[in-house]
């Protein structure tokens, strides 16, 4: 479980987030939706300790023999947090010419410190297989399409083997087919591997179709949250996006129509 407690963030004089308090469960998929500039990335990167909050705390709770222990992600040893929470930013600028397999292997660094054990190799193989990258594992990152590279980075954070996986817009760069495959895969990560996935999603309908829980952010605040049925509603979405939206239930999933 990750608990975000009264977190705020401002750039200069402009407050961009909070105060936000949120709990990310130990299982399932949580999607964060909201308009551009709402503070979704800021929230996710603070929860994943890539950015420091101005105030408030983020704790990750681990079950221990003595009960649940909370680890402050911004204060605890980075190497310890790296075994519990993995986070991937929206854009990953890189110049390194690594192969897909080398990149994914670095996901095991928190466990192996660079010397891969058979367990690490198995985790790398599994992550590569999960993301359909086995055939591409020998390719260099600069020889891949944007979508393939995106999948390689996701494989890296999966190989990290953490309870929590935070992804900022993992559907970016992906065509419809690969976007659906990515969501199906994240669903399997949550269901079969029992991990908790939190992601920022641009498309409300992807969030509605695949998530257990949706958190809607606007102007740096959480304005709605709950199951897809509770959040993907005409009145809620109109408030979140400031745009008239119709919602139809298609195949049992609330589906937003907002093209005109």
């Amino acid at each position: 479980m990750i608990t975000v407690d009264a977190v705020t963030k401002a750039y200069g004089d402009t407050p961009v987030l909070g105060p936000v308090s949120e709990v990310l469960a130990d299982r399932g998929i949580t999607s964060v939706i909201g308009p551009n500039g709402a503070g979704k990335s800021t929230l996710l990167t603070i929860a994943g300790r890539l950015a420091e909050p101005d105030s408030g705390t983020v704790h990750v709770h681990v079950d221990d023999a003595a009960g649940a222990v909370g680890l402050d992600v911004h204060r605890a040893r980075s190497a310890d947090v790296a075994k519990l929470v993995a986070v991937l930013r929206q854009e990953n600028h890189f110049t390194a010419r690594l192969t897909v397999r080398e990149l994914v292997s670095f996901g095991r660094f928190p466990h192996s410190r660079g010397r891969l054990t058979p367990t690490d190799v198995a985790a790398v193989d599994e992550a590569l297989g999960f993301l359909d990258l086995t055939a591409l594992q020998g390719r260099h990152l600069d020889e891949l399409s944007g979508g393939q590279r995106q999948r390689a980075y996701v494989a890296m954070v999966l190989a990290q083997g953490t309870r929590h996986v935070l992804l900022d817009e993992p559907l970016n760069n992906l065509d419809i087919r690969h976007a659906v495959r990515m969501m199906r895969l994240l669903r399997r990560v949550a269901d079969e591997l029992g991990r908790a996935v939190a992601l920022v999603v641009h498309d409300v309908n992807f969030a509605a179709a695949w998530s257990d829980r949706i958190v809607a952010v606007r102007d740096g605040r959480v304005v709605a949250q709950g199951t897809p049925e509770e959040v993907v509603r005409e009145d809620v979405l109109r408030e979140v996006f400031d745009t008239p939206v119709r919602v139809h239930v298609l195949d049992g999933v609330p589906t937003a129509v907002y093209f005109r």
Binding site: T45, G48, R49, L50, R77, S78, A79, D80, V81, A82, K83, A86, V87, L88, R89, N92, H93, F94, T95, A96, R97, L98, T99, E102, L103, F106, G107, F109, P110, R113, G114, H140, D142, M156, V157, Q160
Partner: protein
């Protein structure tokens, strides 16, 4: 590579053959006093510069940086000249400490300036370093000319190995240790090269890794500059060729970088020693010619793949 090292041992102003080596006391002495130290110095200095280049390139995320294009070597020279002015008879160890510290300061200044440059992969980055280096070099020259040290400066700038004899090269073993340390911590540098966010996610303190790497490079540069002088472009050419052929995994590449750097260095030294025999062109001058050409070729080749 071993053959090249053997050749380097065999070639020199004083005629030494296997025959004289075995039977002539004086030839043997010459061999151990001059030929062995010279070759060891070549090997160690080459490894130091090659490895420094790799580390700088991953940490800065730019293919064109190495100690002479970041200004680090020039700062080290400033340290040596400055020390020669205020404290002429300083022992070697003090000179190395001062040179390494100034190389560290210089590299940090360079990194600080880089923060304001947004295009990290561009050719602008080494230009910034070369500019900083020129400014520092000008100050050094001024200091030297004011204190009758120009000749000393000139001999460093051309980084000669001809006056390396026993008793002068030994400090270079320090850079051997640096090379080993880089190998042991290589994965951290590769990860840091993937950016601050990826490094943080994997449990590393990005700033700390960058500082450690910078300090290692500064130490290698400082020591090499004191003992040998400038060794230009080696850290640029070799790591780039290895990267093109084998990718950017620091640990996997390091042995290749060391081998190739040593080979190139020894070849340049042999060429310098033989083309105008019995005189010598310093290895660094040969290297500079080879390296500058390679630099231009690399810039042109990489231009297509340069993205922000």
């Amino acid at each position: 590579m071993l053959a090249l090292v053997a050749l380097s041992l065999a070639v020199g102003g004083y005629d030494i053959t296997l025959e004289t080596f075995l039977h002539d006391e004086k030839a043997r002495e010459m061999f151990f006093i001059s030929r062995v130290p010279r070759t060891l110095a070549l090997v160690l200095a080459a490894a130091a510069m090659g490895v420094s280049g790799v580390v700088m390139q991953v940490l800065v995320q730019n293919k064109f940086v190495e100690p002479t294009t970041t200004g680090s070597s020039q700062w080290a020279a400033l340290g040596i000249v400055g020390l020669a002015v205020v404290h002429p008879g300083a022992p070697t160890i003090v000179r190395m400490v001062v040179a390494s510290l100034l190389a560290l300061v210089g590299t940090l200044v360079f990194l600080g300036v880089l923060r304001r440059v947004s295009l990290r992969s561009s050719v602008v980055v080494p230009l910034v370093g070369i500019m900083l280096g020129s400014v520092v070099g000008a100050v050094t020259t001024y200091l030297a000319s004011d204190n009758d040290l120009l000749q000393m400066l000139a001999s460093w700038r051309s980084g000669g190995f001809n006056d390396i004899v026993r008793g002068r090269y030994e400090p270079l073993w320090i850079v051997g240790l640096v090379v080993v340390a880089v190998y042991v911590t290589a994965d951290r540098f590769t990860i840091a090269g993937l950016g601050r966010d990826v490094a943080t996610n994997l449990g590393l303190h990005h700033g700390r890794v960058v500082f450690t790497g910078t300090a290692m490079v500064a130490l290698a540069t400082g020591v090499t500059t004191v003992v040998v002088g400038f060794v230009p472009f080696l850290g640029l050419v070799v790591p780039n060729v290895v990267s093109l052929l084998r990718g950017d995994d620091v640990r996997r590449n390091l042995p290749w970088v060391v081998l190739a750097s040593v080979a190139l260095m020894v070849v340049c030294d042999l060429v310098g020693r033989t083309v105008v025999f019995p005189l010598e062109v310093p290895a660094s001058v040969v290297l500079g010619a080879v390296g500058a050409t390679a630099f231009v070729v690399l810039v042109l080749r990489r231009k297509g793949s340069l993205r922000g």
